[in-house]
Amino acid sequence: MISGARQARLNFFRRLVARAQARELAALVVPDPEAARTMGVDLEAAGLRTSFTPRHADVLVLTGELPPGLKKAAAVAYAQMPRPRAILAVGAGHVSPLPEPNVSVGTGQEDVAAGVAELRRIFARSAFSTEAADFDLDAVRTQTEYVCPMHPQVVRSEPDSCPICGMDLVPREAAGGNGHGTHHEGMDHGGHDGGAGASHGEHEGHDEHAGMERGEQDEGHEQMDQGSDDEGEGQRGHEGMDHGEMSGMGYGGMSHDGMDHGGHGGMDHGDMGFMSMVEMTQGTPRSSDGLQMEWAEDMPFGPLFPGLPGGLALTLTLDGDTVARAEAEGVEGWAFAEDLAGPAEALAGRLARLDPLSPVAYRVLAWRALESAAGVEPGERTALARVGALEKERASSHMGWLSLFGRLIGYSWLESRAGTLQLALARAVDADEVARLRGDGAGLARRVEWTPLLRRKLGGVGVLTEGSERSGPVARGAGVPKDARTDEEVYRSLGFEPVVRDGDDALSRLRVRLAEVEQSLDLVGKAGETAVPELAADPKLSSAGSATVETPRGAAALRVTLEGGAVEGVELDTPSARHLALVRGVAEQQELADALVAVASLDLSPWGVDR
């Protein structure tokens, strides 16, 4: 039986439906389809359609080892998926707080295809079951607190009366029982909203029952269907989670009662009769256009948002469709610098695991730092092989970004074409095979350059303020020839010149990446090797060393201190950590779509960010 079966007795019609569902599986991919392709996994080819929202997905696909923050976000998304639903784990370890995956496979394409076939079988067999279990998740439990309708600062955990005006406090929902809840409180839910809460809830109950008749008679099933029958049972179904931990979910399930529905809620169902607009909006934040009713506080865009890299948690406060405040965070709970201490031999492996979006660059970074500590230079062949591996990864990473960016801006041809090329790069075994893709890369670049409306869409979006610290393609898209590769002998010998474009906007960054794909594929051809030999130096010493590598997102610098062959101290400076500070500048006071384009154009890796 699948863990997310829908409670119902199997009959002829349901058997038919289950079979249809097995053929139409739509997947929500965690962290995102690009990360899956980096691992060489193509879910579309394996037969799973990718879905943009958990509401329209039936399979949660977990790819690779996930940090706790992403697991939690995935659990919330899973709770939002309509039943029947299932979990497919592709090379993932423990997935708690999620239920055990229904199918677990390795990361080979055949494994995944076999896993999907297995999933189809069990879906067809057990999408409906009488013994369906609920998915109970703490993060989505609803808590009730009591607030004074006139004085929103008065909040109690028990029913009481207001110490200021003496009115009875009215119940409202609090955010989920965890640390994140705190900073939402009292913001989304203006005082006016509370009055609606209780009576609205009752109302709901009736509506739900009325809404149940839709042709299916078994009660158990209906019960599950509508978890929100009453507030207390919110945690049972996935209805409950809408109000759960808001920053954890990243999809549309969040509540915005407070900001706009409070308005009609308060008027239609309020216990306290008429309330004027002035009273209702009292104490709510003033926006620049003076219309507070459309103010939406702390809306999560991520960590699982279709247009942003999986793991990046962007929180936007919206004023209508203008972004009033933006805040971005990396993957929660990800092992960072302090976890890198240990034997020196294992440093490269640990650093590579740190950022699954560009493992090769971080591996090379670790090797170089250790070599610098040992005072040795890698041989010419090793250096060339590293160039090949780094450039292959750069091309693949840029392709992944292009695919994601295509999805964000609604350019589906780009999304699918870049995805195909990214996969081809991930699967290419030697330098010749990679270099053969150069024509395709150039073709893609030409085509994107000639796309109608693209300039109007991207031009002038995401312009950085003077003096912002930029690196990588973001710097080179602003006309600054800043590239750590120019300092390297081996790159100079291959005739490397950094790609520079003027503009300092999303368009120029797109152009830089397009040109760099071609350039990187050229360099791979010249290097003639993509397999990196292991570390040359013997790191059994006590010393310090540092190195810099131009990752696909910019220069990353590492400083290690070794003590008798063990890593004592690590200082890591990643481009994404630096660029994260730019998010506010490019997103705030922009239209929502432009703000998202601007953030995406920075190509932040949520993994390379300490949190």
């Binding site: 249809a20 509401r55 409906f128 399930g253 915005h256 801006i409 350019y411 409306l453 869409k457």
Partner: protein, 297 residues
């Protein structure tokens, strides 16, 4: 009888549009796709989000379907095959499409989710951008036909279809029609990458199925409208009239679905800016041009 035939044809049209849409988005042609995905949707839970505006939430999907069906009622498939040949037919379609905006606004507000709400209000803005273009382009069509009867409009194109007679109006109407059906690159209210589905994000199960059906029927009626107003509807040699109507409608629908694949989504500001600063002057010019043609030629 006519009504039954028209609804049947519409459903067949919606089915074919769904197949086309699947083909465009996945690259695989699956003739049975709409049946299995429809069944799959029926078997899924239809989740009601927490504290929705229940009336808006429930009414939006059927309203979208009804708006599309109403518009179809005045579009002729062949000389005799029309549900209601109204004296105000060309105006009536426009009135029916207005309810698309109402439905999407309700779908945006109803489920109590931020993505949906932004999507709904975006479509309200989009409506401001496209609605004048629809009416003004139809004005020039009615001028030539000297009638608002849709059947008369078709007959007026016997010598030359409007697409050639007034190409500017044709292009404007075509683009505005894509905006009505919120097809990419004008899919601002659903915007998969920006709003994770927007107005459709919170609908699941059978409610989503109704909404998707409504959208498919809407695409068919808009394509049928383009064919009636600009491509000469049922007129054509050799084939029977209904076949010409069906062919032209499907062709227009296919172009509408394909176009968005190769361009990025428009910015909201551009939809409004271009609609008013470029579209409306062009539409006025078109009316003037058609007037001159009618008086002089």
């Amino acid at each position: 009888m006519n009504a039954v035939m028209a609804i049947l044809m519409l459903l067949v049209g919606a089915y074919l549009v769904a197949v086309l849409e699947g083909w465009v988005s996945t690259g695989r042609l699956r003739p049975a796709g709409p049946i299995t995905s429809g069944l799959a949707l029926l078997g899924r839970e239809s989740v009601v989000p927490r504290r929705p505006d229940r009336i808006f939430f429930e009414v939006a999907p059927p309203l979208l379907l009804v708006a599309a069906l109403l518009a179809a009622a005045v579009l002729p498939l062949s000389p005799g095959l029309i549900v209601a040949d109204l004296a105000t037919g060309a105006l009536f379609v426009n009135a029916a499409w207005v309810y698309v905006m109402v439905a999407l606004l309700m779908a945006g507000w109803g489920p109590n989710g931020a993505y949906a709400m932004v999507g709904g209000f975006r479509f309200l803005g989009q409506t401001v951008g496209y609605s004048m273009l629809i009416v003004m382009a139809l004005t020039a069509v009615a001028m030539r036909a000297e009638s608002l009867f849709t059947t008369e409009v078709v007959k007026s194109q016997a010598a030359l279809p409007n697409a050639i007679y007034q190409p500017v109006g044709f292009v404007l109407f075509f683009l505005a029609a894509m905006a009505v059906a919120f097809l990419p690159p004008l899919d601002l209210p659903t915007a998969p990458g920006e709003l994770a589905g927007g107005v459709m994000a919170e609908y699941t199960g059978w409610r989503l199925a109704v909404m998707r059906l409504g959208r498919a029927v809407l695409v068919v009626t808009l394509a049928a409208a383009v064919s009636v107003f600009y491509l000469g509807g049922w007129l054509g040699p050799v084939l029977p009239p209904w076949a010409w109507s069906a062919l032209k409608t499907l062709l227009v629908a296919a172009v509408m679905l394909l176009l968005g694949r190769y361009v990025p989504r428009l910015r909201e500001t551009h939809v409004l800016e271009w609609g008013w600063k470029i579209g409306i002057p062009l539409a006025l010019l078109n009316i003037f041009y058609v007037g001159v043609l009618l008086l002089v030629v």
